[in-house]
């Protein structure tokens, strides 16, 4: 245990964080007191929404993003200076204990402050006659994993770098790249294979760091997912902290290859961002030129600020090329996965069963009995084995796959102008060989129409053969 944690170093860490810790804590707890008072004075007790804590949690969420970074940068600043680094590495403690104790000190400050802020604002609301205890506990489930994740990303970034600037760049890469890649990958795959429900690519969970301001995503699965993510970062940080040489303090990165990875990741992030931001505005040729110029400037700035050596600008062009190649590799991967998924076109006889996992709001059954049956099918994921439905399912699936623009047309503004959109249902299809795929398949159409006579909107809902057939399993008629 003493190889990973030293109580004396932990206390030393807490002492060193006193100034920054109190400053950040004071700001947050002040907000936790002031916001409820202002809310009640402005809106009155009766008007306050049951989710009164939402505004306070926005502050705590901001704290979860900023405080772990600021506090870990304060405590681990010795990694950025040879003088300080020599001092700490000369202390008679294992490096793992130094890492573990200081990280624990950062977590203690941040978690206790967030807890205090929630307790204080809950108490202030209670004293003003608003009970928010239940939502406070729910928010806690989002905020604590978010703080732990942010701390893990911050200490990992510092374990890899030797200057504050590079630490910040790596932290931003850790925070921005995974969700961006995930979104880009999902968007790429679902655009090409519209029968895959958006958001269903990468089903492992949602990182609460990005959604801690809301209770919507709080679930055991997402808490575990976020903590697992943090555990991976902590473990990697510990390994790199242990392996880093004391003499790299003050250098941009702990090794030449880490510096190369930073360049390529930064270039890749810039290219991806520009692709998202400008590919719809510029044509392909203009996008290539704009991307090349902007990414070169970003890499040039990074190189000069992080290494402070003019001669290192020779690395910019190879880094740009490597970033572009990474983008091409990523697009190829998306294309490959999309094509693999698009090949899922089973024969009806190959389908063993399917379950209904998500139904459109327009799939309202006609009777309570049908509604109960539909919900039961959805909730219990009851397998349906029905040859006729399987045939209709396959026919619709093939139709969707042959119309790749369907997924985009769904959200096309002109379609809204026409006042019609598609009703879909998600099916989890299990084949005889045990393979399971989730597919979103159209079951009908809703058309809005405006009557000039009575100046009212009306909706016309029509179902295709699959939608009609589903009636047996819960009813589909509005």
């Amino acid at each position: 245990m003493k190889n990973f944690f030293s109580l004396k170093l932990y206390k030393e860490g807490l002492s060193q964080l006193r100034l920054m810790g109190f400053l950040t804590s004071f700001a947050l707890i002040a907000a936790a007191v002031v916001v409820p008072v202002i809310a009640v004075l402005t809106f009155g007790v009766r008007s306050i929404d049951t989710d009164a804590l939402a505004t306070v949690t926005l502050f705590i969420f901001a704290y979860a993003w900023v405080a772990p970074l600021v506090l870990s940068f304060t405590l681990f600043s010795f990694l950025n200076s040879r003088r300080k680094s020599d001092f700490y590495h000369a202390l008679p403690v294992k490096r793992t204990a130094l890492f573990g104790s200081f990280t624990a000190a950062v977590l203690t400050w941040t978690i206790i402050t967030a807890l205090l802020a929630l307790i204080v604002s809950t108490a202030v609301y209670a004293s003003l006659g608003v009970m928010v205890l239940t939502s406070a506990l729910t928010y806690l489930g989002a905020i604590l994993p978010a703080i732990i994740f942010a701390t893990s990303a911050a200490v990992f970034a510092q374990a890899l770098s030797g200057t504050r600037f590079t630490s910040i760049v790596i932290y931003v890469l850790f925070i921005a790249l995974p969700p961006l890649l995930k979104a880009l990958f999902a968007e790429g795959v679902t655009s090409s294979v519209p029968s895959i429900p958006p958001g269903e690519v990468f089903q492992l969970g949602t990182n609460l760091f990005y959604t801690a301001y809301s209770w919507v995503d709080v679930s055991v699965q997402n808490i575990l997912y976020t903590l697992a993510y943090a555990a991976v970062f902590f473990a990697a940080a510990a390994v790199f902290f242990l392996r880093r040489r004391s003499e790299v303090a003050g250098s941009s990165a702990i090794s030449a290859w880490v510096q190369w990875l930073c360049r390529i990741a930064l270039g890749f992030l810039t290219l991806v961002f520009l692709y998202f931001a400008y590919s719809f505005i510029f044509g392909a040729a203009q996008w290539v030129i704009v991307s090349a110029v902007v990414t070169t400037l970003v890499l040039l700035a990074f190189e000069l600020i992080s290494t402070r050596r003019i001669k290192n600008i020779v690395n910019v062009l190879p880094a740009l090329a490597a970033s572009a190649l990474s983008l091409v590799a990523f697009i190829t991967l998306v294309w490959g996965v999309a094509h693999f998924e698009a090949r899922f076109s089973p024969q009806p006889s190959q389908i063993q069963s399917f379950t209904i996992s998500n139904v459109d709001e327009f799939m309202m059954p006609a009777t309570d009995q049908q509604m109960a049956r539909l919900l039961q099918f959805q909730r219990d994921k009851t397998p349906i084995s029905d040859d006729q439905l399987a045939q209709l399912l396959v026919a619709q699936l093939d139709e969707v796959n042959q119309t790749p623009s369907w997924g985009i047309v769904r959200w096309d503004s002109s379609n809204f102008d026409n006042g019609s959109w598609t009703i879909t249902t998600d099916f989890n299809i299990t084949l005889q060989n045990g393979q399971t795929k989730l597919r979103r398949i159209p079951v009908g159409t809703v058309t809005d129409s405006f009557s000039d006579d009575d100046m009212n909107w009306s909706q016309d809902v029509s179902f295709n053969a699959l939608g009609e057939a589903l009636a047996h399993y819960g009813g589909v008629r509005p």
């Binding site: 206390k11 030393e12 060193q16 000369a90 008679p92 003499e247």
Partner: protein
């Protein structure tokens, strides 16, 4: 015994130490002398367990020092570039040392503060260069180390304080059996203090001898002997100096 065996250390492809072998016996004052960039500070940092050896070994009683907590508890380095926590006082630094070094002696610390006549509650950043050096030395001495490594120990100290430090060194060695390793560019500073000498040049050890043996070889004094050894190793400037004035 503190021992370097075939010790090498490279920084960015440049050898700071190259295949170095030396032994520092217990209870002596060991003078580490050498030209600029000879590798003295690197050797001391390896001995303090700050750097991991590139190749070879740096050991205390045959146990590797790097990541060896028990060894590092008894070795303290006072580096050439000092570090104190920002805004800290001597008392705050003493708290940190007491947390990390199990042999830290509070009574000895208080006696040393009195001896050096420093204000323990005043921010160290307000101290002069010499007072900062005194602070670092007294904190190290308060830890009661078995090996005290002093890099440019007397840098910034006034003559009176140098004398005080020399006396402390002598008594720590004779009364406590402490081993002191002092590095310096200036041989004159070490001549009266050290029992053993090692001469480093470009990362290699030119020689390592007890002072008595060296004095027998050096009728013109130790400095002349060291200059002779360095010149023999190619560390000479006469011709280049002539070129400067001929140009």
């Amino acid at each position: 015994m503190l021992r370097a065996t075939n010790l090498s250390k490279h920084f960015d492809g440049t050898a700071a130490l190259h295949d170095l072998n030396c032994s520092i016996p217990e209870g002596v004052v060991y003078g580490l002398v050498g030209s600029n960039g000879a590798g003295k500070s690197t050797l001391l940092r390896l001995a303090a367990g700050i750097f991991a050896p590139g190749t070879g070994q740096m050991t205390l009683d045959d146990a590797a020092i790097f990541e060896n907590t028990a060894a590092k508890e008894r070795i303290i380095l006072v580096p050439d570039e000092l570090y104190f926590l920002s805004q800290s006082s001597l008392n705050r630094m003493a708290q940190l040392y007491a947390r990390c070094f199990p042999h830290f002696s509070r009574p000895r610390y208080e006696a040393l503060v009195k001896l050096f006549q420093l204000d323990p509650n005043k921010a160290i950043r307000t101290f002069s260069k010499g007072m900062k050096r005194q602070s670092a030395i007294l904190l190290a001495l308060a830890c009661e180390p078995r090996y005290l490594l002093l890099d440019e120990a007397f840098d910034g100290l006034d003559p009176l304080m140098r004398d005080v430090v020399r006396k402390i060194i002598a008594r720590d060695v004779s009364e406590r059996g402490t081993t002191i390793v002092i590095s310096s560019h200036s041989l004159r500073e070490l001549e009266d203090t050290c029992d053993n000498f090692a001469l480093l040049h470009k990362g290699s050890l030119l020689f390592e001898n007890p002072k008595a043996d060296l004095l027998q070889q050096a009728p013109d004094g130790l400095e002349a002997l060291f200059v002779q050894k360095l010149e023999a190793a190619g560390y000479r400037f006469d011709d280049a100096l002539e070129e400067v004035y001929a140009a």
